[in-house]
């Protein structure tokens, strides 16, 4: 079922999935200690940890495909990879501007995962199906949590609504990148290994647009899904990865 061309496409796909989750988790973890209240600080840190954990699940499959140890290889991918080799899209790497921005990004991502992950759970490639089942268990809570916040901020005060709208205007176009297919991804779709992202996009759009409108937000109309998935810009990734790998560069052999 997995020939060389498919294997290359599969590796690229899994790295994209893992990096999207991991880099989003890392960006959100920057809120730790800075959340609006202690309880939400903890809740959002937990969400970040979940996303980091999901990233690792995808990295483990990459490890198996490459004949590496699934226990140790994810650390190598995170701490020893050059910024330019990460395969996440821009939108998960964007530095946050305020709480509304991070909460809305997490909501849009949770809504995407709530549709994408169950489709991945139906994959004919067993390791993907198994990872997706684990991830699915946590996504119901994520979506519940971030929906509640988008609603409160959208329907809250003039200031909270204004901040939410600004965040939506900043995020909406780049968010479309998540629905662009990677290299030779059609081979995987044909084989029933991953779902067709065009279908995921339609479902996601149908779910989030009415919800955002019900939160008094105006959804920008100028969004187009790019023809091809592009790795995130070095402008975002270089500083992010430099910080992420700072300690491991100082003490490469540290054990924790």
């Amino acid at each position: 079922m997995i020939d060389d061309r498919r294997r290359a496409a599969l590796e690229a796909k899994l790295l994209g999935l893992g990096d999207d989750e991991f880099i989003l988790g890392h960006r959100n973890s920057e809120w730790t200690g800075h959340g609006p209240i202690l309880e939400e600080d903890i809740a959002f840190a937990n969400l970040s940890l979940d996303e980091l954990g999901h990233g690792i699940l995808w990295y483990r499959i990459v490890a198996s495909l490459r004949g590496k140890d699934p226990e140790t290889y994810p650390d190598k991918l995170v701490y020893q990879r050059a910024a330019r080799d990460f395969r996440n899209v821009d939108v998960v790497a964007l530095p946050h501007t305020d709480w509304a921005f991070s909460m809305l990004r997490q909501y849009l991502f949770d809504a995407y995962e709530s549709i994408h992950v169950p489709a991945l759970a139906a994959s004919k490639y067993q390791p993907i199906a198994e990872a997706a089942v684990k991830i699915k268990q946590e996504e119901a809570y994520h979506l519940y949590h971030t929906r509640a916040w988008v609603q409160r901020l959208g329907l809250g005060t003039d200031e909270s609504r204004r901040r939410m709208q600004t965040a939506l205007d900043q995020l909406w176009v780049p968010f479309q990148q998540l629905f662009a297919s990677g290299p030779a991804e059609s081979l995987l779709v044909e084989a029933g290994i991953v779902p067709d992202l065009r279908k995921i996009y339609v479902e996601w759009n149908d779910a989030v647009v009415p919800f955002l409108e019900s939160c008094a937000l105006v959804v920008p109309e100028n969004a187009v899904v790019p023809a091809m998935r592009q790795p995130a810009s070095a402008d975002y990734m270089e500083p992010l990865i430099a910080e992420l790998q700072e300690v491991s560069k100082i003490a490469p052999d540290a054990v924790w």
Partner: protein
């Protein structure tokens, strides 16, 4: 800027199916729904609780044994607060169920005790204490059962189930103790020199 101090909710957890609830702590939240979410984030994610309740703190009456003794003295006309309620004119104040949580001496947590039926929180407190019947108790909380928002009722799509599937590392996985001992031994060796 408006007051940033959100209301406080007391959090209770069920440690295992069929076991009594016990107090976990408290969370800030703008409403009960957010309180339950925050409670789950703060107290429920480790695989310890199978159910959570949140109750607004301002409906919870909290008394220590000393405070109760003092208030009984101040009502030394012979009519304790809990007495006479069964003969109170019917229809005036509806009776309702109050949950009772008791902290025994030397314990740090409040555990669920048998609920009581009363017409007011004060009366519920008096009846709860009566029901302890001289048994060991150090402090007592009562609140109307109707004030509970529970993860155990229908919660639709949101699962507050314990995180049994998570591969989180608990504190035992981090060799902090061993490292500290090692460091201490090294220090002692240096001291011996």
């Amino acid at each position: 800027m408006t007051d940033s101090q959100w209301p406080v909710y007391q959090v209770f957890e069920r440690p295992a199916p069929g076991r009594p609830m016990r107090a976990s702590g408290s969370v800030h939240a703008v409403d009960a729904d957010m309180a339950l979410q925050n409670a789950w984030a703060v107290y429920g994610r480790r695989p310890t609780a199978v159910g959570l309740w949140v109750v607004p703190r301002d409906v919870v009456l909290m008394k220590s044994r000393e405070e109760m003794a003092a208030s009984t003295l101040s009502h030394s006309d012979g009519r304790g607060q809990g007495e006479g309620s069964s003969s109170s004119p019917s229809g005036k104040l509806p009776e309702q169920t109050y949950c009772v949580f008791r902290r025994s001496s030397g314990k740090i947590t409040y555990e669920e005790a048998t609920p009581v039926v009363a017409t007011s929180t004060e009366q519920a407190m008096a009846r709860a204490v009566e029901q302890f019947n001289g048994e060991d108790w150090h402090a007592c909380w009562v609140f109307p059962a109707a004030a509970i928002t529970s993860s155990e009722s229908a919660r639709g799509e949101c699962s507050f189930a314990p995180q049994q599937h998570k591969w989180f590392r608990d504190h035992k996985s981090f060799p902090v103790g061993a490292l500290l001992r090692e460091a201490r031994e090294e220090t002692e060796e240096t001291d011996d020199d």
